[in-house]
Amino acid sequence: MKKTLLTVALAAAAGFGASAASADTLDNVKQKGFVQCGVNNGLAGFGSQDSAGNWAGLDVDFCKAVAAAVFGDATKVKYTPLSAKDRFPALQSGEVDLLARNTTWTISRDTQLGFNFRPINYYDGQGFMVKKSLGVKSALELSGAAVCVQTGTTTELNLADYFKSNKMEYKPVVFEKQEEVDAAYDAGRCDVYTTDQSGLYAIRLTLKQPDEHEILPEIISKEPLGPAVRQGDDKWFDIVSFTHYAMVTAEEFGITQANLDEMLKSENPDIKRFLGEEAESTIGKDLGLDNKWAYNVIKAVGNYGESFERNVGQGSPLKIARGLNNLWSKGGLQYAPPIR
């Protein structure tokens, strides 16, 4: 019942949102002079604050990239840290222009809540972590287990579906804040911890005895995480989408933050077009942006691979492998449509 009410309220809000939040987000953003970006209020590697109060993370890089594409200046962005529960009303009400908060793309979020998703900046999947002492080797042996899970996420729903479809029982132990879930699991209040696999590796680092826990091989869901915008503003949607694709394309071309200016002299017509060096090209203008938009994005945050390694990969304490997030040509799923 509560859920129905919430859905109705959100759907109603979405209806208002279309009228309340100005339809042309790009004009709005240009007029304001900054992009208001909804980010995670605290997820290592995706959105968090350092000691000086600066935001950092894969999603934060994406916000900066959009600001760089629009203004040529990655500092023209303001962050609204949002919890899992508050993120959708915030986007619907126009409080933020863009939601880059490790949000899973699902059909109901796309239709019912009135959002648009396209690029995926992190392919994730839900996994399980258990204590080794339980002797469990597969998620199918988890019948009757107490499972710690964070509420308000697709994780909670996938968990219910997975146990139901495999005719297993479980006791959910539900919390709103991630650190509450962490503490409960470490204190032994539940046998199993479930969340996106990227998160499980980070969380395992914080446990008292990381060696005594293992992450089970099963991935029970697809979690394509990507930026979301409000429906009904295709121009802004295109800018957000192609900002990500520009980062991927740069990696395909081998353009990095470091060699960017050398690449400007490249004779490769694709690269010239991409970086806005081709005189008659109107790619940037058609997006409503400067022709150097892609150059500005790479200048600000580097290509996708650089951003990945810096925030969640080998350059960070999380050390997550590229896996599914590698380029399509290297066995992953990151694939950008041609920018021409």
Partner: protein, 388 residues
């Protein structure tokens, strides 16, 4: 008869006996312990149980908090065991004060730009300089002091913090955070809620129907809704109903929400005090020919407020702690910023969340305890014979 010196009495003491010390069993630590800790068998059992509990908890706590704690360090490796990828021996656990030290400025000012942090610091100084003398009964010039602390200080602080005048750069409220936000919201709440609460309480007891109804409606409406709901509505739903382009600062919305809340609760506390004043006081004032405001200001309120000081301070303390709810609308007060700092990948470890929360709890305790002690002091200072 006339000459006492020739009496036949055997002995008359002519000087006082030097006072003797009480029997040794009745003084000193031992006697105190026997009387207070081992007065009866039941007392003795309780004392021993309490001592055992302390012995059981304290050494571990002290070890964890101080002895095994890490005081200096630059990243997570200092507070993580080898198995967790750090430098501490396996099985180690202790407070990670290095984390709090590294994040201290963040906890105090939030995302306030580093170069501009002298501004909140200056505000803290002005805040202390105007408030401290106001709180000390002995210091003269109360009226100018009160105007300085309650009117001038907030205005100066606002312009200092927000900027945009005298060449100060604008620092938006969305960048404010940490203890700064906690203190601003609760200070404004306290300064606003007391007078508004008094007016509401008087209004609720007024004989003018419309005023009474309005006051009752306001109080009951606000008290009937959770603070978290008001904050959430003000933050995410209000923009949907306002015409596009109009925006009221989120921080301001939170401050207004919290102040309204505190006022409604304060009104009921004050009304409790008013109920306790005997009817004769009102009638006495009337018979002296005092006007309504003179009666209330000179006779009734001073007595009523003195009676409900514990209730007032209770409301203040409750409100101070409630400010942590503003994190629901993406504003980061002390607790909110401490919690969000756990996600800094440079500091991810098993002990950082606990250390951060202990720090936040300690700061909250420090403020609430000071308020509580101060209210005790004021109660004693104002005590005029109701003491029990």
């Amino acid at each position: 008869m006339a000459d006492n010196t020739n009496t036949s009495l055997q002995f008359v003491r002519r000087e006082l006996v030097a006072a003797q010390k009480p029997p040794s069993q009745e003084i000193g630590l031992l006697a105190w312990a026997r009387k207070n800790l081992f007065g009866s068998i039941f007392d003795s059992v309780l004392t021993i149980l309490a001592l055992l509990t302390l012995l059981w908890i304290l050494p571990g706590l002290i070890d964890w908090l101080f002895i095994d704690a890490i005081w200096r360090g630059t990243d997570r490796t200092f507070c993580a065991t080898v198995a967790q990828g750090g430098i501490q021996p396996d099985g180690w656990s202790g407070a990670c004060w290095a984390f709090v030290a590294d994040k201290f400025q963040l906890y105090m000012f939030g995302s306030y730009p580093v170069d501009e942090r002298w501004r909140p610091m200056l505000v803290f100084v002005i805040f202390a300089a105007t408030l401290a003398p106001l709180l000390m009964p002995r210091v003269p010039y109360k009226v100018p002091n009160a105007i300085a602390a309650l009117v001038v200080m907030p205005v100066i602080s606002f312009f200092l913090l927000h900027g945009g005048v005298f060449g100060l750069s604008v620092v938006e409220t969305s960048l404010w955070g940490g203890l700064l936000v906690t203190l601003i919201i609760s200070y404004v709440g306290i300064v606003v809620s007391l007078p508004v609460g008094i007016l509401l309480a008087l209004g609720r007891r007024s004989e003018m129907g419309i005023i009474r109804m309005l006051c009752v409606a306001f109080i009951e409406l606000i008290r009937g809704v959770p603070l978290i709901t008001v904050l959430f509505l003000a933050s995410f739903m209000l923009p949907l109903f306002l015409p596009p382009g109009t925006s009221i600062d989120k921080f301001l919305r939170a401050v207004i929400g919290v102040s309204m809340f505190a006022s409604a609760y304060m009104a009921e506390v004050i009304r409790g005090g008013l109920q306790a004043i005997p009817k004769g006081q009102f009638e006495g004032a009337d018979s002296l020919g005092l006007s309504y405001w003179q009666k209330m200001g000179l006779i009734v309120m001073p007595q009523a407020i003195k009676l409900v000081i514990p209730g007032i301070v209770n409301t203040f303390i409750g409100m101070f702690k409630d400010t942590s709810l503003v994190s629901i609308i993406s504003m980061y007060d002390l607790l909110g910023i401490v919690r969000s700092s756990f996600a800094d990948a440079n500091w991810v470890s098993a002990v950082t969340p606990l250390t951060g929360l202990i720090f936040a709890g300690f700061v909250f305790w420090l403020f609430c305890f000071s308020m509580s002690r101060y209210s005790n002091f004021i109660e004693r200072h104002l005590d005029t014979g109701h003491k029990r």
